[in-house]
Every structure is written in C-alpha cells, then in structure tokens.
Symmetry: C2
Subunit: 438 residues, 2 copies
C-alpha cells in the first residue's frame, strides 16, 4: 500500500459532490434546452488546439494564462474560450455549413489564473453565436436578448436585468472630440465604471491624456438614464453628427424596436450606456446581465456584436453576435448566496429495499417495471441491517422507499414510505405507480 | 488579413458537422438517461490531474501516451481514463459519499496514440462503476449486465451479445499447473484470441514457456461452449479443486443466477471463457459486448470486477465493478457501417419564414407560442429571396416550414409545409399546433 499521494483537487479547479453536481447539471441542461428551443445547434470541438490558432487571438493577460502541452513536434495548448474554436470551426467547415449559422457550445475552457475566490482555472462556458455570411440582420441582436431572458427565467434565478448598449456610440462621441484613436482604452476604462466608481473613471481618463471637457462629456454620456425611449431621446439631443455615432444610434434604436416585438417584460432589460465590455472585438451591440438584488455578483452573461469572426483564418466576412454564460462561476456564486435548492444525491426517485435475498426477485421485477415507466429506480443489494438500509436511502435524499418482505410478497402489495412526509402506505402495483407519478 | 493559418483539426481528433453532432449527442444522452434510470449519479472531475496521480496507475504503453502540461511548478497531465479520477475522487471525498457509491461519468480522455483509423487521441468514455465499502454483493455484477442490455437496446443498435467470464477461472486453471505467476501474461494472450486466432494464442503460450499439456488444457478451456448451464457443467467436470478456481466458479454461477432474476432475453448474453481483458486490475467478473453481425467492430463495452479501486490513495478497501463505453470510437464505427440515421442539422422542429419585415411581428409571436409548447422553433430573419429561405430550411433538414405573408395575416391562418411529404396546408393556430405535435 502506497497511500502517500495527496488526492486534493488542484487549486482553482471545481469538483462537486453528487448533490451539488446534480444541481449544476440541471442548470447546464436548462441552458442547453433553452438554446435548442431557439434552433441553436451544438458543436463540440477538441479542448486541444494548435498554439498558433490560439495565439492569434489571445492578447496580454490571456496569453500568459494559456496551458501549453509538451508532446510531439506540434505546439499545442488548451483552449481559453469557445470563440476562437468557433472561428476555426466555421473557417474549416465553411462550405458545409448553412448561414446564418446558429450554434451553441457548452464546454470547459482553461486559464491558468492566480487562484482566488470565484476564479477558476477550468470552467464551463455556455455560448451561443449567430454567424452570418457577409451580413446579419439586427433582429438577431434582439433575439439574443430574448434567449438570455428565457435562459434566466427557466433557471428560476432571482430578478435579473439585461443591459444593452452599442459601442459605436462611445466611438462616435470620441470621434466628435477627435479622440477616436483612444476608443479601445476609453472603453476598457468605462467597463470598470460600475466596479470602481465615477472618480476612478474620471482619474483614469485624465491619466489617459483627455481634456477636462472631454472627460466631463464622457461622464455625462455614461450617466444618461431613464426609460429606453428617454435614453434614445437624450442621445438624439446630443446632436453628434458623425457617421459612427449616427450608425450606433440607429442600430440601438432598431434593436430596441425589435426587442419590443419579442414582447419581453420591460423591467427585465434596458439601455445602459456604461456597458462597454473590455474585449476589443465587439463593434456594435453589447450586453451584460446582472442580478438586480445581488450586484456584487457582477455580469452573469455578457456578449455582443462583431464585424468579422475569423479574419485570421478565412477571407470570408463573417459578422456575428453572441453571448457567453460562465456557468462554473455562476454556480459557485449562487451556491454561496444560498440561492440553489440542493437536495438529492441521486437521480433515482425510488429505492427498493428487499428485506432479504428471497425478496430480491420481486425487487428486481418491480425495478424493471418502474424503469419502463420512466421512473429512475435503485435497488439496495447489500446484506445489512434494516436500519442501515433506510439510512442509506435517507442520506441520498430519495423521496420514495419501497419495502418488500414476506408479508408484501404473500399479500401481493408493496409498502411505500414517503421520506419527505414520513407517511407509510401499503399499495398494489397500480396505486403504487400513481403515487410515484404524482 | 493574415489568413495563413491552417484550420484543419489535429490528426486523431474528432470534430463533427452539426447533423453528425446531433446524432452523437443523442447517443450520449441515451446512455446518460439509461445510467440514471438505475440510480447512477454523475460526477465531473477536472481533465487535468497531478502527474503523480496518473502515473501510479498508468503502465507501459499508456504512460508514453500521456499528455503533460508545462505550467508552473506542479507537474500536470491530462487524464487518460475515467477510472483513475474515480479512485482519486472516492479517496478524497470518502467521508461525504454513501456506499455503495453508484456513479457514472461521461467525459473526454486523452491518449497520444499514433493516429490510425478508429483510434482517437481525444475521446469520450461513458463509464459506470459501483463501489462498495469493504464488500459488494455479486448482484451488482448482474445489474451491470442489465444496464449494458438496456443501454444498447435504447440505442437501437443491431443485435448485440454481452459476453461474461470470471478471471479467477483462468487463474485457478493456471494454479492447477503451478503457473499462477504467469496469470497476467496468459490473460493478455488469451485476450487476443478472437482477434488473432487459436494458432497465435498457442504459439504465444509456448513462447511464454508453457508445456504442451498446459497449452492444450488452456486451449480446450477457452473452447468450452454451449448454454450457460452447459458451460458451468463443463467447468465443474474439470474437477479443479483449488480455492481460486472454486471461488471463480461459484461467483460466475451466482452472477448467472442473478442475471436470470433480471429477466434478460437469453440470446443477449452468455458465458464466454475466451474473455479475459488485457488490464491487470480486474479480479473477478469480466464483460465484453459485441455486435453479433459486425464482429469486426470488436468489443463496444467492456469492464469487470476489481478487489480494490484505490489502494494507492486510501487505506479503505473499495471493491467495485464497472464498465466503459468508448463512445467516440463506437460512433465512428457505426457511421462507417451506415448504421446511424443522420438527418437534421438543427434541433428546431419548425422554421418560420416571414415574407417580409411586416410579417416579422407575427412570426416572433408564433415563435414564442411554439416554444412555450416545447416546440423548438427557428425564425428566418434575413432579407433574401424566398427561394433562398426555403433552401436554407431544406439544407437544415427541418420538417415543418411555416410561411407568413399578407394573406396569412389578413386571413388569420398559417401556411405550413411538410418538407418530408411536400404537402402544404393552411391552418389556424389550434390545428397548426396539433399538426406539429403529431
């Protein structure tokens, strides 16, 4: 016996006990079903990619976080998101795909970040993207919003709000001061507005070399609020006439108009001009989603519109729009806030406990019948004291325990115990099935 | 534009187009649901493990195939199976698990094998194991067989047969010639019996230094056939009286007896003494599963019983029994044999095509209604010629196309086209729902 190897999971990796895992998997399955209900199709790409594929897209921090593999001659690494694999997939299979290509991808990605609370080195992303060939209607930007709404409604999360903006508005505003070349930096700073506050943003913009007047105008732009129509009116009153701003405003107006067609409840979404997203590659609509009463959680679903998905890999122009849910982090945050209903440690709805080996045949027969009726059923096979058998059922959190002994066999009935209420009944097969099915 | 990076998937990695992916995911989901119907619970462990965890279990060939990561100080590698992670998981979480612990795990594993047809470097394994604390009833060995039967029945595979044996029988036979120390080598050779034939096995056994008499006895042992009861009678007539053989025979008899309780059809399983499995760690029951009319496919589901899951990591004795389905390989073989029914490239059952933007509101409203009735629905948003819209629906393999134009809006009906039959009907909402639901 060696028994000297630490079996602790690596820091920054999430590993769940069965009850938590069931809860996690239910969330994953709800997201998947909602994505599919809108016609998004699953893809599943290798976790390993050629390094050159990953490094064309990864910049700065991300590049340092990539896990590289040492095997053979080809330089390999683990994917750090699902967008780069999508770009590669669409480029490679371009001729075999139908456009608009609506795909979802739920899979693990890897980032060797410094481990800290709520940050994981291996985590699930749940992405959808709609990729057009040459062009893609703005109705898709509105549909993405409808998908986010359905996902979080189906997940039964507490009150959430989807915030929407358009990056061309800030770009246009900056263009009006001849500061268009600073757009990426300014958006990175604005992205920190909620987390760091107005003073931080002001200071950072000044440090970037912006004039006081420009800073004031940006701060007052971010601060525009009210109903969606109020915000649009305020934006129109700014009288910024350059092409970028005008196009951004027109896009935002269209998307808001289309969202109304989707008949989402008005308090679940709204324009928020402080949304900018840190990533460079968004070029139009951007989204974030927050839990209204738990702002500390941050954005639970983010994304946006981009002009061209895969310019490093293909000459086709592929505009797209998409979002990503970081499920591992979201799960861990909801668990910490005790917002999850975690109970069963098994998918079985029923456990059958035969009193002894003589009752085993009856137990196996009933198990088969229940499974045929789509009722997941476990049978307790081990020889053990009756107390231990019940305690096993109890620990798993199974709702129904069915007992079979001599009396039950002779009397042609089953004893069923509801572990929630503690009530025990003697039922024939037909009534047993009805009780379990309800 | 760089556009000079090859986007070809790495050799030995499977990447599927949407229609194939849907077919693959259906198989995965069927396996998952069947496992759950018996009360197996999902676990999900990191794909990355500490190297020392993996290297305690990997021997010879496997060790050379492990992908190592270069990042930070800890030596890391990608898992090469789901059994080692299970052993680590059970050791780490021992005090928080209920035993018998019935877990399933469907996940990707990595082996840097030389790429060749049907061999993958990244592939899905779909495992179940039942782990006992100190002891585990033989009924579990029979239940595993019942699970395999249900899985392949639910997958609607062509006629299959589960072969079962017990490694103690060969060990006991060898002990009767005082050759017990050669048991592992002999079993590796016997494992090649079906693939390489009797002459190869004979020659290999002679090369191993076995006497002609021993070789003859082993060959005649492997050749024992007939019904399960015939085989058991033949084994009893061998009059081998050492403890190992006696225990093996008694275990096999018990398992066969219990399988009969599960009422599996008799032609779907049978004792086959040529089954030995190459892996060292099986100590009792072993399983293989073949497609009766496609023997070239080899075993599509294998496994067995082991005395102790995790002796490198814990002092607890953890006997277990389990099986594994190599889904990636199985899918690729079934596809090559044209045994898969691959059709749709989308989960949507319906696509709504509005004639113009005026009909969009009606299309969105209907989409919402259909989704509320659990009918996955896509809406065609792009401006395009009508012909192109229909051709998009056709390429995706969607069954129902619903058309909405001016006439439909005014007449308060929908035009629905069944793409399989080509028939077109004008229906109100109620009748539309009935048509789609059927």
């Amino acid at each position: 016996m060696k028994n000297n190897i630490s079996t602790k999971v690596l820091p920054g990796f999430m590993e769940l006990l069965p009850a938590d895992q069931i809860s996690f998997n239910k969330m994953k399955s709800t997201i998947q079903k909602t994505y599919e209900s809108f016609g998004f199709v699953a893809i599943d790409t290798p976790i390993i990619e050629k390094s050159e594929i990953l490094f064309t897209k990864a910049g700065g921090e991300t590049e340092k976080q990539i896990y590289r593999l040492s095997k053979g001659e080809t330089e390999l690494a683990l994917r750090f998101d699902l967008t780069v694999p999508l770009a590669r997939y669409v480029s490679e299979h371009f001729n075999n795909l139908s456009f608009p290509f609506k795909r979802y991808h739920i899979g693990k990605v890897y980032r060797g970040e410094r481990p800290q609370k709520g940050r994981y080195r291996e985590f699930y992303q749940c992405d959808i993207d709609i990729i057009g060939k040459d062009k893609l209607s703005l109705i898709n930007d509105a549909e993405i919003l409808a998908v986010i709404y359905d996902v979080f409604l189906n997940l039964k999360l507490p009150k959430f709000k989807i915030r929407i903006s358009n990056r061309k508005l800030i770009s246009g505003l900056l263009k009006s001061f001849n500061l268009e070349n600073k757009a990426v930096d300014v958006m990175r700073i604005i992205d920190k507005f909620e987390k760091m506050g107005q003073e931080f943003v002001k200071k950072s913009l000044v440090n970037l070399g912006l004039s006081e007047d420009a800073v004031e105008k940006i701060i007052s732009f971010i601060g525009i609020n009210g109903s969606n129509h109020d915000v649009i009116n305020s934006l129109e009153r700014l009288k910024i006439n350059n092409d970028v701003f005008t196009q951004g405003l027109s896009e935002l107006k269209s998307v808001i108009e289309y969202v109304e067609f989707f008949s989402l409840p008005i308090d679940y979404y709204g324009i928020d001009l402080s949304i900018a997203r840190g990533l460079d590659y968004y070029t139009g609509t951007v989204y974030e989603t927050i839990l209204v009463d738990y702002s500390e959680v941050g954005s639970i679903c983010s994304g946006g519109r981009y002009d061209n998905l895969a310019d490093s890999y293909t000459k086709h122009r592929l505009p797209g729009v998409g979002i990503s849910i970081g499920l591992t982090r979201l799960f861990s945050q909801l668990k910490d806030l005790q917002l999850l209903n975690i109970k069963e440690s098994t998918p079985a709805k029923v456990i059958i406990i035969p009193f002894d080996n003589k009752a085993m045949v009856n137990a196996l027969k009933l198990g088969k019948t229940l499974r045929e009726k789509q009722i997941a059923t476990e049978i307790y096979f081990e020889e053990s004291k009756f107390k231990n058998k019940l305690s096993y059922a109890n620990k798993l959190g199974i709702k129904f325990v069915i007992l079979i002994g001599e009396d039950e066999i002779e009397g042609n009935y089953f004893t069923i115990k509801d572990m929630d209420t503690g009530k025990q009944n003697q039922l024939n097969l037909e009534k047993l099935l009805i009780t379990i099915k309800n």
